[in-house]
């Protein structure tokens, strides 16, 4: 006799949970689709909080410790809410040679947020990435998903201020 496991209820009425649930259902609630499920949560909510991880763990029948372990292992998963805008500075070799360090310093001086931090007004999160593969545009940054390249620190800061003001 097989016992049909009941899936947990969605944590709230928020429609975004349905998206997350759909991803897990598409993968047959298989434990090996954990990373896919976490991507779905992050795409929907912007970060992974404890409720989300508990929901995923329960749905996929995995221990919460495993979900937490995976979420903290991979750089891309955020456990804290992010700012309204995200500026990812590429720190790959080509960008390093062409002055990614100066970009980070420039942003830090202007917005007082080091890589991994969010400004106090939650307007901007500063992140770093290990090569976004846009070496032809070095030094490259990914601003809200769009790659922009060949900018000097002052130009980048102006661009960021523009984005925030909008």
């Amino acid at each position: 006799m097989t016992i049909q496991r009941t899936r947990p209820d969605l944590p709230s009425n928020d429609k975004r949970w349905k998206l997350v649930n759909a991803t897990m259902r598409r993968n047959g609630y298989a434990g090996h689709a954990l990373i896919e499920a976490l991507h779905a949560v992050q795409d929907a909510f912007g970060f992974l909080d404890e409720d989300a991880m508990a929901f995923v763990a329960d749905s996929l029948d995995l221990p919460l410790s495993k979900v937490y372990g995976v979420a903290t292992f991979y750089h891309l998963f955020m456990l804290k809410p992010q700012g309204r805008h995200a500026c990812v500075v590429c720190t790959g070799t080509a960008c390093y040679i062409k002055g990614a360090g100066a970009l980070i310093e420039g942003i830090q001086a202007r917005f007082h947020a080091a890589p991994g931090e969010t400004t106090e007004d939650k307007a901007l999160s500063v992140l770093t990435a290990r090569c976004v593969g846009a070496c032809g545009l070095a030094p490259a940054v990914v601003l809200d998903g769009n790659v922009i390249g060949k900018l000097a620190p002052t130009q980048l800061c102006e661009r960021l201020e523009q984005e925030i003001a909008e």
């Binding site: 976490l38 070799t93 080509a94 960008c95 062409k98 290990r130 846009a134 070496c135 032809g136």
Partner: protein, 537 residues
């Protein structure tokens, strides 16, 4: 379906497509898109529709290679190579009317935008992997079939046994393009010899080396080529399921792969009873999540299984005990992209290209302080000097060349004195570096080599998965020592300790990440020791 049917299909597509006399191709790969290719494409489409005399067609294509001059636009007869094309650089939407006017009969090219297609950057390349890149529309299944796509797969399925396929790949001398250079034919035959049952094919598209973007460009420009290579491999080893493990940092590549898989399935080139044979093969995409160590094959499999991407000791190798314990074949994107032409044109043809022990061509990503940043494909055995100064156009701003870094964080720096060395797997090893996946970062005289070594060590320290002590603690200590040296606070004893640590970490780490982490230090010490010594107290 046999080869004749496929040819008929291609002819049918060509007739239906109503191919005009001229194609205007706009590069829509990530780099050109970021420089504003999309408005250019829209403007050209709008202008072209206004004229609507049917003599030309605008289409989005994959990478043409010269990323630093993007957005690139090429005007050429349908399916013609870049050598027959007129190439325009730094195009803006405002240039659309001029470009369109130039396609009229008897009109001249737009000289102010022109990028000479006989410049060494284009003329000196030999394209096999990238032969369709910048020519076919990556989202079009028809486009791929029209240039002879899927002929390798159909030939393998209808005219060859799995053993024939393996023999042909072995004969070609193809070696793994992910960096290790393991003979591909040997790897395939090992998996094929395992008892029948569930087997897997994995395409490693977790291109983690900073400064390398070959795989991204291949996936964005010609995704069907990779699917075809994977299907041929699956037929050869007897697998029915494949995974492509792609970095989440490459959203465009993921999108195009999804489209390609969907279209190939609908056309019967993936799924059940491929080309009306007994062969079944399905491909699923798995996203990485930003961990460099997942490029290591056992860590990659752990990640596909949904766990932390930590490597395990080998043996057993994946060929024996891989994904979920089943025999698994893992190859890199570029390796799979080489397979279809080898089957169509024969292993002997491929073995005639390159050097004695490294056959075929290699795609390199040129970046750093170099004039022509971008993607190139050259015969194995081309010298570094040719690549950097002829094809790459040398160093900008009149500065002097200092070193070229190959192999990413596992590789090393090659100084001026060794630039005449022909590039292949073995020659680079003798120089203390490695082929790696093909990233080449060129550094001019302003780069300090201690800083460069510290940069790579910081990378390895951050990316160490933490499973084995030599790598987890060793990279931390080495980074501390390099930092001390870079800040001129170190003594001779520190340098001696650093060298000793390099040996220990190299010899005792569990996986490739740790074993090769000291390489950037060792190679900069070998060629630029004076820069370290100048900083000692």
């Amino acid at each position: 379906m046999n080869l004749d049917d496929l040819e008929d299909l291609a002819v049918k597509f060509r007739d239906e497509g109503n191919e005009p006399a001229t194609e205007i191709r706009v590069c829509m790969a990530a780099s050109c898109q970021s420089s504003g290719a999309e408005p250019v494409l829209d403007a050209l489409r709008a202008t072209c529709n206004d004229h609507a005399d049917g003599t030309c067609k605008v289409k989005g294509v994959g990478c043409m290679g010269l990323c630093s001059a993007g957005p690139l636009v090429a005007v050429a007869p349908p399916a013609a190579g870049l050598d027959e094309a007129v190439i325009y650089r730094d195009v803006t939407a405002a240039d659309a009317p001029d470009i369109l006017a130039s396609t009229a009969a008897g009109a001249l090219p737009v000289e102010r935008l022109r990028c000479p297609s006989d410049m060494p950057f284009f003329a000196r390349q030999h394209k096999i992997v990238l032969e369709n890149a910048g020519i076919v529309d990556p989202d079009s299944f028809r486009g791929y079939v029209m240039v002879g796509g899927y002929a390798g797969l159909v030939q393998a399925l209808t005219e060859m046994t799995p053993q024939d396929v393996i023999n042909e790949v072995t004969l070609s001398g193809l070696r793994g393009r992910g960096g290790g250079g393991y003979p591909t034919g040997l790897k395939w035959s090992t998996v094929a010899k395992m008892p029948p049952g569930q087997k897997y094919v994995i395409c490693n598209a977790d291109e983690g080396d900073p400064g390398a973007f070959m795989d991204r460009a291949i996936l964005e420009s010609d995704p069907h080529r990779v699917l075809e290579g994977m299907a041929i491999a699956a037929y050869a080893i007897g697998a029915s399921k494949g995974y492509i493990y792609v970095r989440a940092e490459y959203p465009l590549a993921v999108e195009r792969l999804k489209t390609a898989i969907r279209k190939a399935k609908r056309a019967g080139f993936l799924g059940n009873h491929i080309c009306e044979t007994q062969f079944n093969f399905d491909i699923e995409i798995r996203l990485g999540a930003g961990a460099f160590v997942c490029g290591e094959e056992t860590a990659l499999m752990a990640s596909i299984e949904g766990g932390r991407g930590q490597p395990r000791p080998r043996p057993p190798y994946p060929a024996e005990y891989g994904l979920w314990g089943s025999p698994t074949l893992i190859n890199n994107v570029e390796t799979f992209a080489n397979v279809a032409p080898i089957i169509s044109r024969g292993g002997n043809w491929f073995a005639g290209i390159g050097t004695e022990k490294s056959k075929g061509t290699k795609v390199f990503a040129l970046a750093g302080t170099i004039v022509n940043t971008g993607l190139i494909e050259v015969d194995m055995g081309t010298t570094l000097r040719d690549i950097i100064f002829e094809i790459g156009g040398g160093i900008p701003d009149g500065k002097a060349f200092k070193a070229v870094q190959t192999g990413g964080p596992s590789g090393g720096c090659v100084p001026d004195a060794h630039l005449d060395m022909p590039v292949d797997y073995d020659s680079l090893k003798t120089l203390g570096t490695m082929m790696g996946s093909g990233g080449m970062i060129i550094m001019d005289e302003t780069s300090n080599m201690v800083d460069v070594a510290r940069f790579f060590m910081e990378f390895c320290m951050d990316e160490s998965c933490g499973k084995c002590i030599p790598c987890r603690a060793g990279t931390q200590q080495m980074h501390g020592l390099l930092d001390k040296i870079a800040k001129a606070e170190a003594s001779r004893a520190d340098l001696a300790l650093l060298e000793e640590l390099c040996e220990v970490v190299q010899a005792t780490s569990l996986c490739g990440l740790g074993q090769t982490a000291p390489n950037p230090v060792l190679s900069t010490l070998r060629y630029f020791r004076h820069e370290y010594e100048e900083k000692l107290g």
